[in-house]
């Protein structure tokens, strides 16, 4: 639409000054066409040579440098990342090993302690058993001795009783036998 509008303006400009281009559109005045063409070609050629030989290679260099730098930086960053991951893995394994060792040591010391406790317990139990046996022996001895003394006492009591009641002395051996016989029957009840 713009070109149409400009075209109309151009047509109008041409029509109003038909064949008198100098007054209407200076663009259609051929006086300086050669000059413009000449200077355009000259200026543009110089511009082209300068741009293509000096400036574009420089800018391209700059851009390439930047790209390479970014690429290099990214690569080294990746490398560092891999390194740190490897280190992390190493650290993890070390930590795991340490944990295993700790549990092992714990188990071992627990076992040793258990063994110690067990042996000491056994020792003490044995001692207690011995003491018990000793005490039992003492008790039975005491019983026996008390039994024999009870027999003697009962013999004395019996002979005394018989002497007091009947007034005569029985021989001691028969009393002893009788007491023995009775006490055997009676003492069994109490023992």
């Amino acid at each position: 639409m713009r070109s149409l509008l400009s075209f109309l303006i151009a047509i109008k400009a041409i029509n109003t000054n038909l064949l008198a281009a100098e007054a209407g559109m200076p663009q259609l005045d051929p006086t300086y066409w050669a000059s413009q063409a000449f200077w355009l070609i000259l200026v543009f050629t110089i511009l082209y040579i300068l741009i293509s030989k000096i400036h574009l290679p420089k800018i391209k260099n700059n851009l390439d440098d930047r790209e390479n730098k970014i690429k290099g930086d990214l690569e080294s960053a990746n490398e560092f990342k891999e390194q740190s991951e490897a280190k992390l893995k190493e650290y993890d394994t070390i930590l795991e090993n340490a944990k295993k060792e700790v549990s092992k040591i714990l188990l071992e010391s627990k076992n040793i302690l258990d063994k110690n406790i067990q042996s000491k317990k056994n020792l003490i139990e044995k001692e207690i058993e011995k003491e018990i046996l000793k005490a039992q022996k003492e008790i039975t001895e005491l019983k026996k001795s008390s039994l024999s003394s009870i027999q003697k006492i009962s013999e004395n009591i019996a002979s005394n009783l018989i002497e007091n009641i009947s007034g005569e002395k029985l021989n001691e051996s028969s009393i002893k036998a009788a007491v023995q016989e009775i006490s055997k029957k009676q003492v069994d009840k109490y023992l």
């Binding site: 070109s3 303006i9 006086t31 050669a34 413009q36 200026v43 511009l47 400036h55």
Partner: protein
């Protein structure tokens, strides 16, 4: 129309009967080219990893044109990158310099744009014949067209091919001239309507200036991308 007049600066230079005098048009060509050179010099002077402002803009131009070429004409067009870059920069800076008040718009002259377009046309045609020989003529015979329509289509294709330099040059010239003429017309309205009624055309002038800057960029881009497309036709036969 005074802004489009070409006048001589300095002595008259005549070579082989042609008047090659230095004119204001030549002056503004030199100015535009100098600005480009200065800008690119500043933009590529320092090799910084993190670019400065000018370096960033220069590199943006570089990658912009490089992407444009690789998108439209593929990797085969790489050797022509400096030419298209120069062309784009030259047209863009001529357009932009022309936006300054009291300056001269080089690209608003049909002879300038026509010479550029003719050069591109001739160069592209030579490249086409050089790369593909006589087979380059098959560009006029599109594939997959019914035989009945083929003569007609071929004639249309030939006409469209031959009118390429005209359309390319007139597009740029007419856009630039129309824009500047419009600015001038609205500027004239501001003066003639005075302090009472001149505010509306003044607003239009401001808006149009913005539009013209856009057009200046756009037309440079269009000029360069059409060159790329023509080059693509010549390099990669049968699109």
């Amino acid at each position: 129309m005074q802004q489009f007049t070409v006048h001589k600066i300095g002595p008259e230079i005549k070579i082989a009967g042609l008047d090659l005098s230095f004119t204001n048009a030549s002056l503004f060509m030199v100015i535009s080219a100098s600005i480009i050179i200065l800008f690119l010099f500043l933009g590529s002077k320092e090799k910084r990893i993190v670019p400065g402002k000018i370096q960033l803009i220069a590199e943006l131009f570089y990658s912009f044109v490089a992407k444009m070429i690789s998108d439209t004409a593929g990797s085969k067009a790489k050797p022509y990158f400096p030419f298209i870059f120069s062309l784009f920069m030259f047209v863009l800076f001529c357009n932009m310099v022309g936006m300054l008040p009291y300056s001269f718009t080089v690209t608003s002259h049909i002879i300038v744009t026509l010479i550029m377009a003719l050069f591109i046309f001739v160069a592209v045609t030579i490249i086409g014949f050089f790369k593909h020989g006589i087979k380059y003529l098959s560009i006029f015979v599109p594939s997959g067209v019914p035989v009945v329509l083929l003569p007609l289509i071929t004639i249309i294709e030939i006409i469209s091919y031959l009118s390429r330099p005209v359309s390319l040059s007139v597009r740029l010239f007419a856009n630039m001239m129309a824009g500047h003429t419009m600015l001038k017309v609205f500027g004239g309205f501001v003066v003639s309507l005075g302090i009472l009624g001149g505010w509306l055309p003044l607003g239009f002038s401001v808006a149009l200036t913005g539009l013209e800057i856009l057009v200046a960029f756009l037309q440079a881009y269009v000029f360069a991308i059409l060159t790329c497309i023509y080059l693509n036709d010549a390099l990669n036969l049968h699109h």
